[in-house]
């Protein structure tokens, strides 16, 4: 799997140094039926102040990838590869290599990289007040002065648009609505001024109007605070609104990666095409049935060496796609795809005549 074909000539890639670099990340969960491969050689870069959207169906490995960044994946998960957090003034840290009680890891968690989760209902401890949990995060990363921490907490709750922030501090999670809880969650994540915010489907459990408010809030906060966002979602509409770049994930691998406009303008992987076709859109002719992707996501247990999408792919090439894993390579400027329909991919895999490099 020779996938490190990042062309240094590319304009977007070279202008800014990445904030976070995931290299060849592999996460395996040994379960009863065999090894479940949640992430299979993932390579992603996140740039400072930008938003990377990570899209895919449920169970494709998005969440495992995100959790690996903070080393909060389930205990049984075996992680290999590198996750490099870059600094302006010192060499990068490889998060995968950090021990579980390493002070550096505890500093990164919540400090450098904060995370918000899908379920605002269960993300807070039910027996502690919002204030208790929010101030705890601030005391860990911002200040050791309790009074100051309280003031920061109130300011953060105010910033995320929670009315009567001082009273909210004394409330328990079950006193707040889902939307308000997610706002409080965002306040907690951002209270330490992280450089990277990982948002794992933060609006999935909310209803649509609240969803729009939360999305707007996150965009405003990004503009004000300048953090990068890794935005994970299965919803292409949300991704289109939020992301600067998009990575599409399928069965633990990135199958397409492009700037958001480029991706929506010209899709270069049959899976992404399928995803887009199956999204309902206003303006579509009524009565026209929604397209679906044939079949289900196979369970990635004891994964064979082949293109994971082959069994469901309308354009798959028997003899190639079911034999070799397609590498992710640039098929158009700034646009990477892992589909053998593109000669560059064939070439990178060492197939066909064009066996030039790698």
């Amino acid at each position: 799997m020779s996938t490190s074909v990042i062309q240094p000539t590319d304009s977007i890639e070279s202008t800014t140094a990445p904030l976070l670099e995931i290299k060849n990340l592999r996460v395996v969960l040994p379960i009863l039926e065999g090894d479940l491969v949640a992430a299979d050689g993932v390579n992603i870069q996140i740039k400072p102040g930008k938003t990377l959207g990570l899209v895919g169906e449920s169970g494709c490995g998005k969440t495992m990838t995100a959790q690996s960044i903070l080393q909060i994946a389930p205990k049984i998960a075996k992680t290999s590869g590198q996750i490099l957090l870059h600094y302006a003034d010192r060499p990068p840290t490889d998060i995968v290599a950090l021990g579980k009680n390493d002070p550096e890891l505890l500093r990164i968690r919540g400090g450098e990289c904060a995370m918000i989760f899908q379920e605002p209902m269960t993300s807070f401890s039910p027996v502690h007040t919002i204030g208790n949990q929010l101030i705890e995060a601030i005391l860990l990363h911002r200040t050791s002065d309790k009074k100051e921490a309280r003031e920061i907490a109130i300011a953060m709750l105010d910033k995320v648009g929670i009315p009567a922030p001082a009273e909210t501090l004394k409330k328990y999670p079950h006193h707040l609505s889902g939307g308000m809880r997610q706002r409080a969650m965002i306040a907690m994540a951002l209270s330490s001024r992280p450089r990277l915010l990982i948002a794992d489907e933060p609006t999935t459990a909310l209803d649509v109007t609240v969803q729009a408010q939360v999305l707007r809030l996150m965009r405003d906060l990004q503009r004000d605070l300048g953090m990068a966002i890794l935005y994970i979602s299965h919803d292409l509409g949300v991704i289109a609104r939020m992301a600067d770049e998009v990575a599409v994930m399928y069965m633990g691998s990135i199958v397409e990666h492009a700037p958001v406009r480029e991706l929506f303008r010209s899709v270069k992987h049959p899976y992404t095409k399928g995803l887009m076709g199956s999204a309902p859109r206003i303006g579509k002719k009524s009565g026209e049935p929604l397209a679906t992707i044939m079949g289900n996501v196979p369970i990635p247990i004891n994964k064979p060496t082949a293109c994971g999408f082959f069994p469901r792919c309308p354009v798959g090439i028997a003899g190639i796609c079911d034999q070799v894993v397609p590498p992710l390579v640039e098929v158009a400027p700034g646009h990477k795809s892992a589909c053998f329909r593109y000669p560059q991919v064939l070439a990178a895999a060492g197939l066909e005549s064009g066996t030039t490099n790698e």
Binding site: Q67, L70, I72, K100, N101, L106, R107, I108, R109, G110, G111, A114, M115, F117, E119, T122, S123, F124, S125, P126, V127, H128, Q133, E136, A137, L140, H141, Y172, H174, M185, M188, A189, S192
Partner: protein
Amino acid sequence: MLSYTVRRLGYMIVNLTLISIVCFYIINLPPGSFIETYSTQLDAAGSPASQAQLDYLTARYGLDQPLYVQYWNWIVPLVTQGDFGYSFEWQQPVWTLLADRLWLTIIFSIVSMVFVYAVSIPVALYSATHQYSFGDYSVNLLGVIGLAVPNFLLALLLLVGSAKFFGVTPTGLYSPQYMNAPWSWDKFVDLLIHLPVPVVVVGLAGTAATIRILRSQLLDEFQKQYVITARAKGVPERRLLMKYPFRVALNPIISTAGHLLPEIVSGSTIVAIVLGLPTIGPLLLRSIIAQDTYVAASSLMMLGVLTVVGVVMSDILLTILDPRVRMNRTN
């Protein structure tokens, strides 16, 4: 909160009434009047009851009246004057027999509860955080054995062991010189010295059960989203454990007190019989066998009252500690 407490206390009174009815009916279930039993007993002992005595009893309990009237005649003096009736076997009021034993039973149950929690909480914490380690397996194995060995058997083993190796049998709760002495500091210290062995015997099964519940509760909580959230914000593992899952898992533990207390009272009954402790248990057994009905009913009732009151107290405590329960219950 206040309304919940009041409501809970209301239920308690209903339950206590039920207990008294159950106990009363158990007295009356065996065929034949116990006055007959009583007078045959006295005849057999060679000192026939005087007609005055029998008349007093008949009048006192209204034995010629319907059952609910009899119940009324029994419960009213009990509640208003603390008159629990009369022991045929001991020829004295039941309350004189019961009072000391009741206090000891209460002290003994409380000490056993404290022992159970003092041991099981740290052990369960260790076991859950070191899942599948050697220590965890040993704790599990000990737990299984602790649950499987009937406590009276354990008491017997203890007695045999100490008789064999030390030549003494550790029975009772006092040294002989304090047996009938009035309460004093020395007597209290003497009691404390005698408590550990029976407390361990009675508490073992409860400890094993509590470790099991708390351990699986903790393991469940470790998977919860809020723990992941707290970890993701950089809380160190040890603090994370103490602040979040432990705190949440404590609630079911407190609510298990409602099961633990009846279990301890139940277990201490038989252990007290084997070890000869001056608690209610041996009195209950003896009175049941001797058909000393008022003693039996009163002993049974006091044990029931003890657990019901204990359960209510643990319930109210839980409401104070858990905001979720508080919300559900007060609304």
